[in-house]
Subunit: 305 residues, 4 copies
């Protein structure tokens, strides 16, 4: 028998790719699509599974996969959040040994291909602008916790960005910039209040669109003296405008665009031609939350640009 | 000295990432952006470079990179094709030892972030729907050859697709399908006529939009009995509608969506819940060209889905 | 002024790719190589940077990049851990506004290409078996914390693995297995005791090799009734054999190998022919630590297989 | 009916991931593993499939997948080449409408995890050094054609590389180098003579090891004045030493390692500290073949580093 301590552990089936087609209209010719990547993690009394080879407390990951697909048939899939809440509650409520469940969902967006000549609508093109995310945790001491988000939303301001007045030490060679490109690939997560999470009628799609719009607008409208300042303005804007959101965390890689030196060729580069660099990149991360609220979004991950 | 034969060879700088900002309007406050990934390959009299360590005929790849950036300043970047033509001609016309140049360009699309409150427009969000491509070859016996294209355009029809009546051999287990999802990630290339390639006024952006629209519409409107049939209909549609295009090649991975068997759970899956599989995938490839035209698009590559 | 709270935040330059060549021997003809990917994150008094556009407390990410490269010249790079400790201490000790620094390092291994005919040794081939990782945190209340690790180490037992006796609910269809393939791609992290971290003579390379060997041997020698059990055995083995390690966390995707049903072709598949699936996959994660020690390795990340 | 011409077309199932375990020894306790990714492409009389929706000539891609798995049971999998030859011949010989078949195989290598305490050997760790490839084409006018290869073999010489004496034009800024790092990620393909391809006893594994060793040794032993010269030396070495190989094509991205300028920090960088760049990269490609032999390896692909 091990003399060591089994601490945090979890297991489940990750990346269950599921597409649900829903037929609407009197003849079902109006199709709607939800395209999800659903991951399940279960926490509970799994000590024997680890120590003795006794799987009596183990709900197989294969069963968690089946559950995801069966639930997609048994229930409407109205949003990643609502679907994740159903799943998280099911695992905790149906098996006493499961104390907490965490569901992570990625959603891929599709737009319609317009076909004016027919009323049937069942043709789609995938929209690549961003991936929507949701993380639902249920059980344990926290009750129900819903964190929504997005990733891979790449944005750029081609002016209205400066950077100067910083510390200079013996390793500093950076020239101060009074007009630069500011570009980043946004990873955002935002935590909802318990009242929103517990409200069965909460409109998650509407809330998602609102947050996304405010993030984009704040990015575009902020005259920036640092990416940190832009980050703060984006989070602030969401908290100011979406009452059900309590906390925002942003991970913003600074996708450097370096002005190419064209002087060797007798040319002046008047902020026109840039080299878009891959690595290294600045990485700016931060959490902003309402006063009086305890932050819950994980800070430990490392977002790769 | 080697007793073997040096056959096809080429070299250059690949994946020069370049962003060009152009300021329009009386005060330059309307910004336009072109975001390109430009690769250069040169062919010519490079025998000594390979055999004796004499680099007298070698234009350094670093110089080809510099040329890309300098040209972006010296010329308008009106389209991937026009920019590629400029570069290809430059290398062949400026160095006698370079007999042929091939430029490949990927273009990443950006949309504006609407900021209604200001007339300055310099905020963008990257549109992820597809990557535009262009391959320009100049020199040698072929003159100027322009192949445009796109990749990563993912499309789906959630009905109007069947597959049956195929060969059955001893390894066949597939059940015939009378209503299935048809999904693919389109890689398309189309070759332009010489008159289009040689026309300095050819509107490459307009031509691109037209081809893209016809590909999408043909995909959506074709009632499909096989992905091959859909492929042919897509290429046909382009040739029927875009007079300056002579040849179309499509690489269409069949992104399988398998109907999940829900019967073990007492549920009927009425074409609603699908598993989106990664690998393996069908891969359907084909070239369609106008009668009397010699096809020029490479058939040997292997497109990974 | 924002009425919201700025909570955890950090910034720095990520993914500084650095190769250091060290010449050994009386004539310097014996080359040694360290190939690192170094990321820097700084925490401290950065409130004004976020709120007012005053960068007076901001050491530019570009400077942190320069520091990485300069330190590689000024110091021996004897291991990812030792190099990370130097950097972390430098940032905290040289700037009062920086309270804590975290350095993450990936190391890519190279083997020599044997050239028996010469004593000069400067030819290498990259060994792809795994990526070595290290995370060093210095400052704040924790002092110096060193977490070593590896990722992308893919292993397989082609027998000696069973899985049965698990919970069956209404969504369970999995058949019990008495002989299966067990394959996983190991991500491991292990935390060192403070005395090891603070020991300037600690041999990090030797410690790495020991842990790696014990992980591999435990995987190979454990007759497995679940991947959880194998995970626990691997961590136990390390703690039993490497005194300076206090805690081990493993993230083990269950890379499913499904026995292909060959009966439709009149063939019996006697555990010979498998389909290696991509998604979904089981994901088993857990922390094991010495009794009396507080676990410090982040549990919140989501390892993608 | 289309008025256009259907030219080159092919279809099949791509990326069939297959693991075959073979038990050796009197009690079957010595396991051997082959881990393959097999892609099938068929060419033939598929006009109606494209034009009329008549699938009478279409062997489903699903059947080609089944065939791969069934053949792995019915036959020994002694090498990617031998397995590919079996499959290619099967498709052409069993269906009159299939005129040519092309099989592409990737093989992932595994090493044993040494377990000295037991004679049973069934534990493996994946070796990441390179991926072995093979492309087999059968039918049509060419008979049987076998092209072997490898990819992702990353190598470096930390000295013995120069680059100077090149063309200088108005866009040249590169400084001549008399001691630089030369690093590349080798993609190699080599075509076998018909007699080797048609020899049922040809030892493909032995041949693979020989070619690989000669490529590595030639890279290490060549004092280089350009990557082109190294490319030529590598191909020459293979042709000089492996009689059954007629042609070699190499795609060598020049993975630039730039010497970091440490002078701003008062440090001299004596070829010690390098920045490993991602993009852009030089890309050097070439075919070398025996005199009197017609080259057959495709030159049109674009290898991304």
């Amino acid at each position: 028998m091990s003399k060591h301590v089994l601490a945090q552990n979890q297991y489940g089936k990750a990346e269950n790719r599921i597409v649900k087609i829903t037929r609407k209209g009197s003849d079902g010719s109006w199709h709607e699509i939800r395209d999800l990547n659903v991951s399940v993690a279960l926490r509970g009394e799994f000590r024997d599974v680890h120590l003795t080879g006794d799987n009596g407390n183990c709900l197989p990951t294969d069963t968690t996969k089946n559950t995801v697909y069966a639930f997609a048939k048994e229930h409407d899939v109205t949003s990643p959040e609502a679907f994740g809440i159903l799943l998280a509650k099911h695992f905790v409520n149906s098996q006493a040994v499961i104390h907490e469940a965490q569901i992570r969902v990625e959603e891929f967006a599709w737009e319609r291909i317009p076909v004016p000549t027919r009323k049937e609508q069942h043709s789609f093109v995938r929209s690549g602008q961003e991936v929507r995310t949701a993380q639902i945790t249920y059980g344990g001491s926290t009750g129900l916790q819903v964190i929504s988000g997005l990733k891979d939303l790449t944005v750029m301001n081609s002016t209205n960005s400066e950077f100067h007045g910083y510390i200079k030490d013996k390793y500093t060679t950076l020239k101060e910039a009074y007009d630069r490109i500011l570009a980043t690939k946004v990873t955002a997560r935002w935590a909802h209040s318990s009242s929103a999470a517990d409200d069965a009628e909460h409109d998650w799609d509407r809330s998602y669109k609102k947050v996304r719009t405010h993030l984009l607008e704040a990015f575009a409208e902020t005259y920036s003296y640092s990416l940190q300042q832009t980050l703060h303005a984006m989070a602030d804007r969401v908290l100011d405008n979406v009452a059900s959101v309590n906390e925002v965390r942003l991970n913003l890689p600074n996708k450097h665009h370096f002005l190419v030196d064209l002087e060797p060729f007798g040319l002046k580069n008047d902020n026109e031609v840039y080299f878009a660099a891959d690595r290294p990149y600045g990485l700016i991360e931060g959490t902003i939350h309402r006063d009086g609220v305890r932050p819950v979004i994980s800070t430990s991950d490392w977002i790769v640009a």
